[in-house]
């Protein structure tokens, strides 16, 4: 469909009714306004939504979904649109249901250590609301300043600290959802919940294919007594990898263990002058938190283990500003790479931690063999790789070669018993790669479950599972700096 056309057919027919439900200002039909929603954080995939609705209440969401269900019109839920797998890619003949106007923090319940929020609330705003009471919301995706709790629920978002604190699914106690047929269901609450099948657990991470969360009760975590960040520099990636292994096998569970290779360090250095130790072929950022006495004991041990693994310099920081300085290089790495290369692909794969050295070596070989530069920035503690595959899209064939390298890296992950996505989700971007990780029976079972809740296939169709219509499209290419990063609204890492 041409992007300049007005919404047509079934969707167009819904517009008057949608205006009754969401109000005049809650329905966008104007092409230029619809265009602002044409992609999420993976702009390579874009489509003009048939119509955009911005409901303000759960009742409105339910009414919109019922209307869609009654007319066989697909809907795509969208939070802040920061996702990196095109999970919120609009449907050209569907309704894009945006939760950004549902952003009330309904309650901070200190005694029950939880918060009740609407889905459009920004992740960091939960922590901001809880901080005065000595609490925070643990999942911290890199886009946490803007990404929404509803989006986190859809994607089961983690963050740099999920090594210790887990993902969204480990923190949600209650969900109000609107099912694909438009029914409102309240699951769980402030208590631990014990009723029947764990639908909350299955809904989280379902990428909008099972409905829309309209209210979320999240557990809050007591702010740790002490937090210390350590930066260790090594002359080789292998040495850094050894340090990670020995930290984990010593029984220390840091809240985060991040690693960067020479190319990523170089990019970060150029972009933000992070002042990492000169000559480092690998840096490790380790964060420890908890009771002060425990952290102190662990810090001594981690420092010793790093130096035994060959660290030539180790710095520690405990104040917030000092810690932020260490994190600066790491957090700026993605954007920084956007400055040293005209284009790049961000990959998100997982390998068992013990396979990290081998997989990193293979990536180096792959890079050498193809002449395509790969910067490695990753969550080393849990084996979640984010290789950045660099290329110049002005050069004919470069994008295709970069995609091949990016795909080969995913193959390496699968070959080593890992996953095609650790945190970005499947969405559209990796739907066609699902058969590499799961067999036909596994996928058919996923589909049985999906159809149980969405028999007509109207909730975010063509996402998460491979479909003939979908597969064959090219994976996402990121050009330059992400618009949100550029605008200073988000960090990516």
């Amino acid at each position: 469909m041409s992007e300049t056309e007005a919404p047509r057919t079934a969707v167009a027919a819904l517009v008057p009714r949608l205006r009754e439900i969401c109000g005049e200002d809650g329905v966008l039909t104007d092409t230029s306004r619809r265009r602002t929603y044409e992609s999420d954080g993976l702009p390579h995939h874009h489509a003009l939504p048939g119509v955009v609705v911005l409901p303000t209440t759960a009742d409105q969401v339910a009414a919109v979904v019922r209307l869609c269900a009654g007319n066989g019109v697909p809907f795509v839920p969208r939070g802040a649109g920061t996702g990196l797998s095109a999970g919120a890619l609009p449907h050209a003949e569907g309704v894009l249901l945006v939760t950004s106007r549902m952003r009330r923090v309904i309650e901070i319940d200190v005694e029950n250590e939880c918060a009740v929020v609407e889905p459009g609330v920004a992740n960091l705003d939960v922590t901001r609301a809880a901080a005065p009471y000595g609490y925070y919301y643990a999942p911290d995706p890199s886009s946490q300043q803007v990404c929404s709790v509803g989006g986190n629920v859809a994607e089961n978002s983690g963050g740099a600290h999920c090594l210790k604190y887990g993902f969204t699914v480990n923190h949600v106690r209650g969900l109000d959802i609107v099912t694909p047929s438009g029914e409102q269901v309240r699951l769980g609450g402030k208590g631990p919940g014990a009723h029947g099948y764990d639908l909350i657990g299955a809904f989280i991470g379902s990428e909008g294919t099972l409905g829309v969360a309209t209210r979320v009760t999240v557990g809050l975590t007591r702010s740790p007594e002490r937090t210390v960040t350590l930066l260790s520099a090594f002359t080789s990636m292998d040495a850094g990898g050894r340090a990670v292994s020995s930290i984990i096998s010593a029984g220390v569970l840091p809240s985060a263990v991040e690693m960067m290779d020479a190319l990523a360090i170089e990019a970060a250095e150029r972009a933000v002058a992070c002042d990492y130790p000169a000559g480092a072929a690998a840096v490790l950022v380790v964060e420890l938190d908890g009771p002060a006495v425990e952290v102190d004991a662990q810090l001594a041990e981690v420092t010793r283990l790093c130096s035994e693994a060959g660290a030539f310099e180790t710095r520690t920081a405990s104040g917030a500003d000092e810690r932020a300085r260490i994190w600066k290089g790491r957090k700026s790495a993605f954007a920084a790479v956007g400055r040293i290369s005209p284009s790049y692909i961000v990959q998100d794969g997982v390998v068992p931690r013990t396979a990290l050295p081998e997989v990193l070596r293979r990536i180096t070989e792959l890079s050498a063999a193809t002449g395509i530069r790969v910067a490695n920035v990753f969550h080393a503690g849990d084996g979640n790789l984010h290789p950045l595959v660099l290329f110049d899209d002005a050069e004919p064939g470069a994008a295709e070669r970069a995609e091949e390298v990016s795909g080969a890296i995913l193959d390496l992950c699968i070959e080593h018993g890992g996953s095609i996505t650790g945190e970005h989700g499947v969405g559209v971007d990796k739907a066609c790669k699902m058969p590499r990780m799961y067999g036909p029976d596994d996928l058919a079972t996923f589909d049985l479950f999906r159809r149980a809740l969405d028999p007509d296939g109207i909730a975010n169709p063509d996402k998460l599972l491979p479909t003939p219509r979908l597969c064959g499209e090219r994976p996402g290419v990121r050009k330059g700096v992400h618009p949100l990063v550029e605008a200073g609204r988000a960090e990516q890492f």
């Binding site: 631990p192 099948y197 569970l253 009771p291 390998v351 890992g418 650790g422 945190e423 799961y438 479950f449």
Partner: protein
Amino acid sequence: MTLVEGLDAEGCALREGTGADAVGGLVPARVALPSDTRALGRVMSAAAGEGLTVVARGGGTAMDWGGLPRGLDLLVDTTGLSWIEHIAGDLVVEVGAGTPVAELFEVLAAAGQRLSVDPVRAGGTVGGMVATGVSGPRRLLNGALRDLVIGMTVVRADGVVARSGGRVVKNVAGYDLAKLHTGGLGTLGVVASVAFRLHPVPRALRVVTRPVPSGAHAERMLTVLRRSTVTPSAVELDWPPEGPGSLRVVLEGTPEGVEARVTEVVEALGGESAVADTLPEGWGLLPVEGTLALVSVPPAESVRAATRVGELAADADVRVSGSARSGTLYASFPPGTGAVGVETVLGGVRSTPGWSATLLRAEPHVHAAGTDLWGEVPGLPLMRAVKDSLDPDHRLAPGRFAGGI
């Protein structure tokens, strides 16, 4: 029945069921003992072909949990699926469903690692632990059992073997179907194997036990604990029918760190606290007989719920224990407690907003009285839809789950 022929040659021994195999009073015609996942798939497929109702059994320690099955043609004994693949360097283990939990724990302990969950029954298998899904006291640090499952292989009602998740801790590819099977009592499939994330065994452990003479005392202590940053692994409330209750706080970490935290807890709780460096005998285990309820409440209402259950039970001598910090309590009725007494407690709990009560195990006379094990179950129509899609003929433990699923 034709099931006998042709199957035992394919890795699945079959025998006739006996009274010892009965579930909810139903004696299965046949008992199958598959030796591996494929054999389990084959026997399930054969059972599907013949339209047989199937119940899975691991260690057999929870066959009286859940509702009474409406039918039982074939009992599938999973104890042949006993294997452990421990990938110590990755802090991951994948285990056959029939593996005894105790054996798994021994293997992990030998490597200085653990599955951070306290079993609530002794003698069970991994599959049974997962299918019943409840967690013991130490759930505050690393989560409940469902938080530690990273992958699962399940044999569907039609015999198809399907996997979700994997062997890496961080993985968001596909639906997390393991969540549905965890606590699903085998009504959506038979668990064949489970992958768990592990944790290193902390080098030091201390248990601070403090008697709590009254509910008000317990409330105050829990508030003090909540305000501290001492990060306990467990805060376990024990509320017996007679005499004072107690709070047990488990602290785990480095030897240096734990000492200081113990001091902090002892000071915070005041009075006479006992400090031990081992867990008490029978830690986390629930009584093996009598009707047993799971009471879930907002954490701040744990003590109120415990005392309320005591009041509702009147002279029924119900013991309440559980994770006060998470709001998960178990109410244990003495064997022989009448259905009316049980229903009074259930009714009282269920009528309080935000509270729920489920009977994990009901004695036969409680079943016979028609006591509602589940109460109102939000989302039940969705659960029925899931059941209909994965087990359309309702042959897997029909009747054992909420709403007669």
